[in-house]
């Protein structure tokens, strides 16, 4: 199910602008890896290179290798669509499809990729909604529009939608930044459960959140505005937050930044 990600020498560009420079790291399967760092340091860009969403942006291109177990995502002949089926993504702002019901939203990934029997879909939708801890709240109104849910519920709906296609890896780009503390707690609990089945990478600005949910933490930084972002260090979360090996990490975490 879950796969290991091995990144080596990865740089990403927007047109001529280099956004991240020469990043190498390993993301362990069935674990949560958190990316922290100041705004603009390339965390989200790096995350998006892991399922080839970066190249959706006009001018976006990548150098380097991203190995998913033993397959290079950027190897020749690799279909980005197939990559995205394997590596799912949850976005910063909840974005359920406004024209679809709750059921259709969860089934969207499956239905848009091929034909499934109604009963099959029902089982997968129920399983995914249960997996996202949303089933009890919406089981009586699966045919209502997904945009009628609260922000936290919408975000869990998006997580259900992402895990319905059974990806190997789940990328989360600040999934809680638009949510209140209670919804955030619900999602953090969910992340704890999901890591049994998926490899999870989460970008967050909330240091406490990184400390709470992740097994390993990567700290990104940039030398100056306009310079590409770099990976400063990646280590066990406990070590990063107690005794990091780089001074910049400690400064950032303790708020003595800049």
């Amino acid at each position: 199910m879950a796969k290991r990600i091995d990144v080596s020498g990865l740089s990403a560009y927007y047109g001529n602008h280099k956004a991240i420079d020469d990043i190498s790291m390993t993301v362990e399967p069935r674990s949560v890896t958190a990316f922290i760092g100041p705004s603009g340091c390339g965390k989200s860009t790096f995350l998006r290179t892991l399922n080839r969403m970066h190249e959706v942006t006009p001018g976006g291109h990548v150098e380097g290798k991203v190995m998913l177990d033993d397959e290079n995502l950027y190897g020749s002949g690799v279909d980005p669509v197939a990559v995205r089926r394997t590596v799912g993504m949850v976005f910063q702002r909840p974005n359920p499809f406004p024209t679809m019901s709750i059921f259709d939203n969860v089934a969207a990934g499956l239905r848009l990729n091929g034909s499934y029997k109604k009963s099959e879909l029902k089982d997968i939708v129920e399983k995914s909604l249960k997996g996202a801890n949303l089933w009890n709240e919406v089981k009586d109104r699966l045919n209502k529009p997904g945009s009628g849910l609260s922000g936290g519920q919408q975000q869990r709906l998006c997580i259900a939608r992402a895990i319905a296609v059974e990806p190997q890896v789940l990328l989360m780009d600040e999934p809680c930044s638009a949510l209140d503390p209670i919804s955030t707690l619900a999602i953090e609990d969910l992340i704890g459960e999901l890591k049994e089945r998926f490899t999870i990478v989460i970008v967050t600005h909330n240091m406490q959140q990184a400390a709470r949910v992740s097994d390993r933490t990567a700290f990104f930084n940039l030398a100056a505005v306009g310079q590409p972002g770099k990976l400063i260090e990646i280590d066990e979360t406990e070590r990063i937050f107690s005794n990091p090996s780089v001074q910049a990490t400690e400064d950032y975490i303790s708020g003595r930044f800049g």
Partner: protein
């Protein structure tokens, strides 16, 4: 500015008003003032011996604006006076915009209703002499429906696909060129579109006049409108929805088909309907390419046909009372057709709008 500085308000205390209340004109002031202004306008008009009612109206409007300003300045203060004057000007502009529309509708309904009945709608002119009363517009309705329908069948798919290309795929020079030519096409006069089809279809290729020839010219006029409105609607679809779909491993073409288009279908339909309404009233290309006819021709691909705007034009040229009546009635039917299209478009837009479910 200066009078605010030189007249310190007695009610202020260190720059702050003591009370938040201030004197207000009663709610009935504007209507009463409007009546008084109308009376003053007519009075001055009669006394001064002015013939033109437009002059009366202008005087009344001027009296109303100045009266409102003076009264408000005296009772409420200068800021409220300015506010009331701006409100008055906005209302006058609104009335000026509505008057032509209302009078056009009134005129058409009042004159058109005379001969408009079941017989008029279900019969053609046939062999009726032009000057005689009677006859109908069935052949023109058939012609308009077929020509506009064919034009829509040609222009809507092309326009839709062009807009999808421009918004979803178009990068670089080709997209810029397409946008430029769409802009140029928007400005093509309808007679030029008619002449173009006339020279290609009838003069060079040697086909005769037909409803289809007219449809092609109408399609040229319709296409840029469809492209523009569809483009705007597609741009309104949030990028997040496209990314959400792509991140689920959905190919781009399916994302467009299943996520982008359903989200914007209401607005796109409205745009197409408005484009149809625009071409339904075109006379010039029809005159050049369809020629007009007095009898029913159900086949748009063969022989001359009639259409509603052309019928109005031809009846007006005949110039007898009976023909004038028929022209007004046909114009009324045309306006009703366009209005119904607009209502249908609004209905579809509301029905298809993404629901919030709250």
């Amino acid at each position: 500015m200066s009078d605010v500085m030189t007249k310190p308000r007695p009610v202020t205390n260190g720059g702050h008003p003591v009370s938040l209340k201030h004197a207000r004109l009663p709610r009935w002031t504007p209507p009463v003032l409007a009546l008084a202004a109308a009376a003053a306008g007519s009075g001055i008009g009669i006394v001064g011996g002015l013939d033109s009612k437009i002059q009366w109206g202008l005087i009344a409007a001027l009296v109303f604006i100045l009266g409102t300003f003076a009264l408000a300045a005296a009772v409420e203060g200068s800021r409220q006076a300015k506010d009331r004057m701006a409100t008055t000007l906005v209302w006058i502009a609104f009335l000026l915009a509505v008057i032509p529309l209302a009078s056009l509708l009134w005129e058409t309904i009042a004159r058109g209703i005379k001969v408009l009945d079941g017989y008029f709608l279900s019969h053609s002119m046939g062999t009726l002499p032009d000057a005689m009363p009677g006859g109908g517009i069935y052949h023109a309705i058939i012609g308009t429906l077929e020509q506009v329908g064919l034009a829509t069948l040609i222009a809507a798919p092309i326009g839709l696909l062009t807009a999808i290309y421009l918004v979803e795929y178009g990068r670089g020079r080709l997209a810029k060129a397409v946008t430029f030519f769409v802009d140029v096409m928007t400005g093509i006069p309808s007679i030029v579109a008619g002449l173009f089809i006339l020279s290609v279809w009838i003069l060079i290729l040697g086909f005769g006049p037909s409803g289809f020839a007219g449809s092609m010219a109408l399609a040229i006029l319709m296409m840029p409108v469809v492209v523009r409105s569809t483009e705007e609607m597609l741009k309104l679809v949030p990028n997040e929805l496209r990314e959400a779909s792509l991140a689920l491993g959905v190919p781009k073409w399916r994302t467009i088909l299943k996520v982008v288009l359903p989200t914007s279908i209401g607005g796109i339909t409205t745009g197409v309907m408005l484009a149809i309404a625009r071409i339904a009233g075109e006379t010039a290309p029809v005159l050049l390419l369809v020629w007009g006819a007095k009898t029913i021709n159900n086949n748009p691909f063969e022989g001359a046909q009639q259409s509603l705007p052309l019928y109005v034009f031809q009846q007006w040229q005949i110039g007898t009372d009976a023909a004038y009546d028929r022209a007004w009635a046909a114009a009324l039917v045309l306006i009703a057709f366009v209005m119904i299209l607009n209502l249908v478009a609004r209905g579809i837009a509301r029905w298809k709008a993404p629901r919030t479910g709250r």
